[in-house]
Symmetry: C2
Subunit: 323 residues, 2 copies
């Protein structure tokens, strides 16, 4: 029966805490189809979860950090009696280099086992989605789906590679960039435009030599930068994730940024995020129209005329688009 | 007065052999504006020049090969009394890695000097064009402009880097891939998908050790491939461009492919090229509409509603697009 469940029923069940329904919901949203877009639309008006992006070069320890933060966040946010205690933590693992999706990545399986008995944790991998918009649309849609399922805190772990990393950073509420001791990482971050999107720097493996240097290098780069328009200076914290050291500092920084976002900066960010998502949706939709256009007999006929030199390609396209 | 010349007048002057007008025409076409697209459209119904794309990794000697082929082609095609003797040769230098355009690239300046006294030769660099479509639209438009100016043979020299290389290959009548002795180049060609688009392989610097090996490697790769649907097997020729060796073999291969294209393969190719150009034009046009859409007050208002959670981004975009 569940296999045939209508999207609406899935959404209701996911809202009610049904994890199998939630997994299916994400699978639907992950696809690029008219049905998935309708369902995604239905999830978008829920109050958005606070999402923490964790990005950085391979080997910086992002996965371990994410694992330990799950536990720390549940304890901290549940325990500290904040305005809205977090009762469950979602994790989205984004790997644009992987052809797999749906939780098939090795690292997740390991984590699945670790957190398997904890009903407050939901972990999901996102890889590629169709050809239109791809991950840059799938990640915000997945966040919206988790928000609709009443998640209030979601960690989005991204492999730090180029455009996807920046795309995800524009999607999450806060972006933490993980580096390890050594000048190289900081330089790479600067080169890739990551300095501009980072709300927090985490120097992980800080028990290695050079942690203080890395911290100083990052601080200098921030000093050299023009400063952010929203007035937030990204904190730099040191962690040793494997030993649970520094996690409280990370959560303090999250709390600090959360407070910052209660001001006008939060509104500006929400607006920018909405506009970016709308732009992506428009672009994906127009890409679909092009695909539809080029597979019509009228397009083939017009191409034949262009090939024969009886019309020009600009005029032919204009005629097709106005028809 | 010339600075104010209308596009139509430019086109007429270029057709009449005015090289300054032709240079201006290409500058207009190179830009991304409504005027440039109107002008480009006007050039497209001329009989297309035969264009030979020359691509390959840096250091394979493409520039020297192009230089020597200019002279050889003028002699051969003018002299051999073929159906339509070539009276002038155009050269487009495409360098996607260069921010310069309009003939500012060093290699061209050298060539300019070499061919400066030869009125039958016209050399032009193309770098970036606007943001919509960029070089993938600018190159076919420049070819159309040269065709309108009665050029019948154009060499398009491209730095062999990724997508642009493949884009240009889909634009030219014939694509020659230049490699040097050594297995590396052939492997790289296979990896980059170049084997599929090559109509001719040129093993340049063939006086170096390993030329026979390179030829054999390429032949084996062609054997391993599924074979081309159009029945053409790309010849493999050896050249030493610095000594003018092998140029006749290249021109023989061009003649052979020209003959091949007189059959159904030529029609299929012209159709594919027209369809590809139309697709690029449609994509560039839709990208412009997105830019226009996101800069309207209505878009800002809708984004504010999405940010406030009173509507979803999919619905908002649909409403904007239907308005």
């Amino acid at each position: 029966v569940r296999a045939l469940a209508a999207p609406d029923a899935l959404l209701d069940a996911a809202r009610g805490g049904d994890r199998v329904a939630l997994a299916r919901l994400l699978s639907v949203v992950e696809n690029d189809s008219a049905a998935s877009r309708t369902l995604a639309a239905a999830t978008w008006t829920a109050p958005p979860a606070f999402s923490l992006g964790i990005t950085g070069a391979p080997g910086t320890g992002k996965s371990t950090l994410t694992d330990r933060l799950i536990a720390a966040a549940l304890e901290r946010f549940v325990a500290d009696g904040a305005e809205r205690p977090v009762s469950q933590v979602g994790v989205l693992c984004v790997d644009p280099t992987s052809p797999f999706s749906g939780g098939a990545i090795l690292g997740d399986r390991v984590r699945m086992q670790e957190h398997a008995l904890d009903e407050r944790v939901f972990i999901r991998s996102l890889a590629t989605r169709g050809q239109h918009g791809g991950l840059s649309v799938a990640v915000p849609d997945a966040l919206a789906a988790l928000s609709a399922a009443r998640f209030e805190f979601v960690i989005v772990e991204t492999v730090g590679v180029g455009q996807v990393e920046l795309d995800v950073a524009s999607t999450t509420t806060m972006t933490a960039v993980v580096v390890t001791p050594g000048w190289g990482d900081a330089m790479q971050a600067a080169k890739a435009g990551i300095l501009e999107v980072a709300d927090l720097f985490i120097v992980n493996k800080a028990d290695r030599p050079g942690a203080a240097d890395a911290r100083r290098d990052l601080a200098q780069m921030l000093d050299l930068g023009a400063g952010r328009r929203d007035g937030w200076r990204p904190p730099i914290v040191e962690t040793v994730a494997t030993e649970d050291r520094g996690l409280e500092d990370v959560l303090d920084a999250v709390d600090g940024f959360r407070g910052h976002l209660r001001g006008p900066a939060g509104e500006a960010r929400a607006l920018a995020r909405a506009a970016a998502m709308m732009r992506k949706i428009a672009a994906a939709g127009l890409a679909r129209s092009i695909d539809a256009l080029v597979s019509t007999p009228a397009f083939d006929a017009a191409a034949a005329e262009v090939a024969a030199g009886t019309t020009d390609p600009y005029g032919a396209v204009a005629a097709l688009l106005s028809a």
